[in-house]
């Protein structure tokens, strides 16, 4: 996660197959550089995004989650991204209550032609998360069980 | 309507050069039942000059006013001068749009123990505020001296119509036209209603400035107007004070009064010319009062189009 002392965030991306994944492809074919912080997962549509996936990524140590889909009104499946907007709005409120900074989980749009926008989004988000520092959710979960600690000490 | 108090940014020009505007604003506010409370210890907005030479201090200069207004608990601020309005509006908008600028401006404000969160204030022009908040119904209701028989060229100038459209069009707004009609007068078909008055060019290049002033005045007179109505002290000054010079340069003899829109409202509300700051203008406007008729002039019949003429396109309402 970090080498030579600088913090490089890990961002898990959920990209829709038709717009944002292709935007990422286009960023590739056009050789637009952006930080190697994003690890992306392809879903058919942002409408497939179960909020569980976001929580899972954070639980597993991600510093941020980036969800990207087609622009509103241009969903390949007509309105999947509207569902994503709704879920994201409620998820954001929930995560805020769990003490997560707003910048950690973001929803953005990029059409298949917007490689630049894709690269810019990743770059910007990387900067924002780098400024926040590591999330490292596991440290919210200290082992307080004296038995387990004792056992761990024995080993 | 309960007595509402608006946080008010008068701007330097209204303090002296265009005091008539300030006087009429206050008089009209009183008559329409709202109050204008100045931002405590406000400073100059920098006009267009400061932005021309030093961008960041220019934003900081304007932001001090926003910060002081917001500190006073305001959620909106009203400016009667279009340049002041735009500077306040643009500073707030740009700070919101460009996070880096926001940080820099707030760093500067910090030196004066101030800070401003963009979006806190809604920046409004007095014209838009009166039309929206007071409303045409109330204006009509309070009209004591309908301005029957007067023809006004509604001159919006630049900075309320552009770059952002805070009225109904960046090119051909109609809100003030409607207001004029509500007050009993007629708004003329004045095509150059958003053409620039020349701004500070009167000081820098007379040729350029007088050319622009002349065009506006000519178009206003051609449109059949008895007076031009402005919403900005700079526009008033250019069209009024320099009207003679423009005449000299083009060999014309125009003599058309240039009024502030609150003076027009005030007249209709029945306020006296004195209460409305008449007398500061170069082209005398008192004569207009004599032109007011006691009843609405007969509606001019739409010119009948010849039989063989092709129909005009239907314009949307």
């Amino acid at each position: 996660m970090s080498d030579n002392g600088t913090f490089k965030p890990v961002i898990v991306g959920f990209l829709c197959n038709w717009c944002s994944y292709r935007a990422a492809d286009l960023a590739g074919t056009s050789r637009m550089g952006y930080p190697a912080t994003l690890r992306d997962i392809r879903i058919m549509c942002t409408g497939r995004l179960d909020p569980t996936f976001v929580l899972r990524a954070l639980q597993k140590g991600a510093d941020g989650v980036l969800i990207m889909g087609c622009h509103p009104g241009q969903c390949h499946y007509q309105e999947g991204n509207y569902k994503a907007i709704r879920r994201f709005a409620l998820l954001k409120r929930t995560l805020r209550q769990l003490g997560l900074e707003e910048e950690r989980v973001q929803l953005h749009w990029a059409s298949a032609a917007e490689g630049v926008r894709f690269a810019e989004t990743v770059t910007r988000m990387t900067k924002e998360i780098t400024a926040l520092g590591p999330l490292d959710w596991s440290h919210n979960w200290p082992n307080e069980d004296p038995y387990a600690l004792e056992e761990a000490a024995h080993e | 309507m309960s007595q509402k108090t608006y946080t008010y940014y008068p701007g330097c020009s209204l303090q002296h050069g265009n005091h008539a505007y300030e006087v009429s604003n206050r008089a009209v506010a009183k008559a329409l039942g709202f109050e204008l409370a100045e931002i405590d210890d406000w400073n100059c907005c920098g006009a267009t000059e400061y932005f021309s030479l030093n961008r960041l201090p220019a934003y900081a200069l304007v932001a001090r006013n926003l910060a002081r207004a917001a500190d006073g608990g305001a959620t909106e601020v009203v400016a009667p001068c279009s340049a002041c309005f735009l500077n306040l509006y643009k500073t707030d908008k740009h700070m919101k749009l460009y996070p880096k600028l926001n940080d820099q401006v707030n760093e500067a404000l910090g030196a004066g123990n101030l800070s401003y969160k963009p979006g806190t204030l809604k920046v409004r022009h007095l014209l838009e505020m009166i039309i929206t908040d007071v409303g045409f119904d109330m204006l009509k209701d309070r009209t004591r001296r309908p301005l029957y028989g007067l023809n006004f060229a509604p001159y919006y100038g630049c900075l309320i119509a552009r770059p952002d459209n805070v009225l109904d069009s960046t090119e051909q707004p109609t809100l003030m036209d409607q207001m004029i009609e509500v007050l009993g007068a007629k708004a003329t078909d004045f095509h150059l209603k958003t053409f620039c008055c020349g701004g500070h060019m009167t000081q820098i290049s007379e040729e350029t400035a007088y050319g622009m002033i002349h065009r506006i005045i000519k178009n206003a007179v051609d449109s059949g107007a008895d007076a031009i109505v402005t919403i900005c002290p700079m526009c008033q000054m250019n069209l009024d004070v320099y009207q003679g010079y423009a005449n000299d340069m083009f060999g014309t003899k125009y003599e058309i009064p240039v009024m502030f829109f609150t003076q027009v409202i005030g007249l209709a509300l029945g306020l006296s010319p004195r209460e409305l700051g008449f007398g500061q203008e170069f082209v005398n406007m008192s004569g207009l009062i004599d032109k007011i008729q006691s009843s609405p002039p007969p509606k001019a019949k739409a010119a009948r189009r010849p039989k063989e003429a092709l129909p005009m396109p239907v314009m949307p309402e």
């Binding site: 569980t52 899972r56 954070l58 709005a89 409620l90 998820l91 209550q97 997560l100 | -």
Partner: protein, 333 residues
């Protein structure tokens, strides 16, 4: 089970005692339990000492019904002891299964909680600001209190659990079914939640239609139509994502399901499922419109994680992160 009577243990860790009452709500069926088991440990009802349990052989207890969440050293100690002494350890009730009400403490922190309870709350009179101490000297000697944790955990997060019997509290008919299963040896595969794998909607007799939520209401704000799905009327109901078994008790009387039975099989995060279900049917397509509707649903996390925050994927509110987002008014902390 052989002819020999089995040994039954019941324990309450961090809990309210409702689960104990639920056991008693078996009414005359409790006699069957007594006939089948010797109760070797039930501190809520009879005088047992921890030493008595500790003295048992490993695995000597056949079945232990463990209710309550784990929030201090004592709870953890008993969890380890009972795990060692029991053949079958059942997480009994919502607290031991998902953390439940004690688990809501995970929305805040130990320090903040102590500060409020012992100093700030209006009913407190504590001018010295005294806080509970692990060790305190009194004339009679030293008193000790178990160490209070920063984070509430579930039983399964401390020791391996064989079965789960959710509910706040578990319904009598389910306890009965579970006991019968144990007595007859007809147990589902270890690790199972005992209960049907459908949601509360399955048992709820209200009419369900296609859903579109335009506005949320608090229960005191409207009188709901008695025959129509509560969620469709804008009343929060967790029934869509909550395991059935209760007989849809709450929705049947006009109160939205609170979610005490937890999620269905395979679900990793109960709150996320209710969240997605409800968010999906909001009647808005722009962030602004969506936000307008959501403004009528205060404390969403509180709704989604009312019973299962410690069991959820994130388990608690951030300790160190998130100072920037201090809780806004109207949100649970």
């Amino acid at each position: 089970m052989s002819d020999k009577k089995g040994k039954l243990g019941l324990y309450w860790a961090s809990s309210c005692g409702g689960c104990e009452i639920a056991v008693l709500a078996l009414h005359e069926k409790i006699l069957d339990v007594a006939a089948a088991f010797d109760i070797v440990f039930w501190p809520c009802v009879m005088d047992f000492k921890y030493e008595d349990v500790e003295a048992l052989e490993d695995g000597e207890i056949d079945v232990c019904l463990f209710n309550g969440a784990i929030r201090n050293d004592e709870n953890a100690h008993m969890a380890h002891v009972l795990r060692q002494k029991s053949k079958v350890l059942v997480a009994f009730g919502a607290c031991s299964f998902g953390g439940s009400m004690p688990g809501l403490a995970n929305f805040t922190d130990k320090d903040a909680m102590f500060d409020w309870i012992y100093k700030q709350s209006p009913s407190t009179d504590n001018p010295q600001g005294t806080l509970p101490q692990k060790h305190s000297q009194v004339p009679e000697g030293e008193l000790t209190l178990p160490n209070f944790w920063r984070t509430v955990k579930t039983l399964a997060q401390i020791v391996p659990v064989d079965y789960y019997l959710p509910g706040c509290p578990p319904e009598a008919h389910q306890i009965e079914a579970a006991v019968t299963a144990i007595v007859t040896g007809q147990l589902p595969p270890p690790g199972s939640v005992i209960g049907p794998d459908v949601t509360v909607c399955d048992e709820c007799s209200r009419t369900k239609n296609e859903k579109k939520i335009k506005h949320f209401y608090r229960p005191q704000e409207i009188i709901p139509d008695p025959d129509v799905c509560l969620l469709e009327q804008g009343l929060f109901c967790a029934g869509i994502g909550t395991r059935s078994g209760c007989g849809a008790l709450c929705p049947q009387v006009g109160m939205g399901c609170r979610g005490c039975y937890g999620p269905n099989e395979g679900v990793l995060d109960h709150g996320a499922k209710i969240l997605t279900g409800i968010a999906s049917v909001l009647d808005a397509n722009t962030p602004e419109e969506v936000d307008k509707i959501l403004d009528t649903l205060p404390d969403p996390a509180g709704y989604f994680y009312r019973f299962h925050l410690p069991q959820s994927l994130l388990r608690r509110r951030a300790l160190g992160n998130g100072q920037k987002q201090t809780a806004k008014t109207g949100e649970a902390t």
